[in-house]
């Protein structure tokens, strides 16, 4: 096997960046939602307030996804 070919990459490297732009916020939203479920299970009477707080957390996290996925417009 030719050792030089093991690390050879072809294609557009920017695609890896778009993937990372989805992975990061995906983990973030997952954490926000899991903690909200945990909190609602502990105190169901606070569900309405926790849902509003969760929405704010999701909004901030997914903004990163949006900005990351919009980068083809400037880096293409």
């Amino acid at each position: 096997m030719d050792v030089n070919n093991i690390a050879a990459l072809s294609g557009n490297l920017a695609v890896v960046g778009y993937g990372l732009a989805a992975v990061g916020p995906g983990i973030g939203v997952g954490l926000v939602v899991s903690k909200t479920i945990e909190s609602i299970a502990r105190q169901p009477e606070l569900a309405a307030r926790l849902q509003v707080t969760m929405w704010l957390g999701i909004a901030f996290t997914e903004a990163l996804a949006l900005i990351g996925l919009a980068t083809p417009f400037i880096f293409a």
């Binding site: 307030r49 509003v52 999701i58 903004a63 949006l66 083809p72 293409a76």
Partner: protein, 139 residues
């Protein structure tokens, strides 16, 4: 000052639409001077994408709040995945288009998203959501 979740989301949606409309207007004028019609179209498309993206989260939480806990998370997270897929398809479609100017579109998207985030944060901080929702226990 909103004191129910419905009032909060209605206020957030209204303020976000006003802000993004203003960004579309200013961005459209600037885009017109930079790249004539293509700049104007780019600013309008960017603002529209940001409006849909920002509004869908608030609407999904608002509507999902009326469902059971499983339904709530299904609507919110299902809406999130749907939104990302739609956005990727839109970006892939628009990427090679000749009628848009990429940097203008990008700046409009980012400005709209950051502006609506600031509005969301202010609206939540100023709201007074009670622990017990009295509108649901009227009878």
């Amino acid at each position: 000052m909103p004191n129910t979740t419905s009032q909060l989301f209605a206020q957030v949606l209204k303020l976000s639409a006003l802000l993004i409309g203003a960004i579309a207007l200013v961005g459209g004028v600037i885009g017109w001077f930079i790249a004539s019609a293509a700049g104007l179209v780019s600013a309008l498309i960017g603002a529209a994408m940001a409006l849909v993206f920002a509004s869908l989260t608030a609407i999904s939480v608002w509507l999902g709040g009326r469902l059971s806990l499983g339904g709530f998370f299904g609507v919110v997270l299902g809406g999130w995945i749907l939104k990302l897929v739609l956005f990727i398809v839109l970006v892939a479609t628009l990427k090679g288009a000749t009628f848009i100017v990429g940097p203008i579109l990008f700046v409009c998207v980012v400005a709209s998203v950051l502006g609506s985030l600031a509005l969301d944060a202010v609206a939540v901080m100023r709201s007074r959501i009670p622990t017990v929702d009295t509108t649901k226990t009227a009878n």
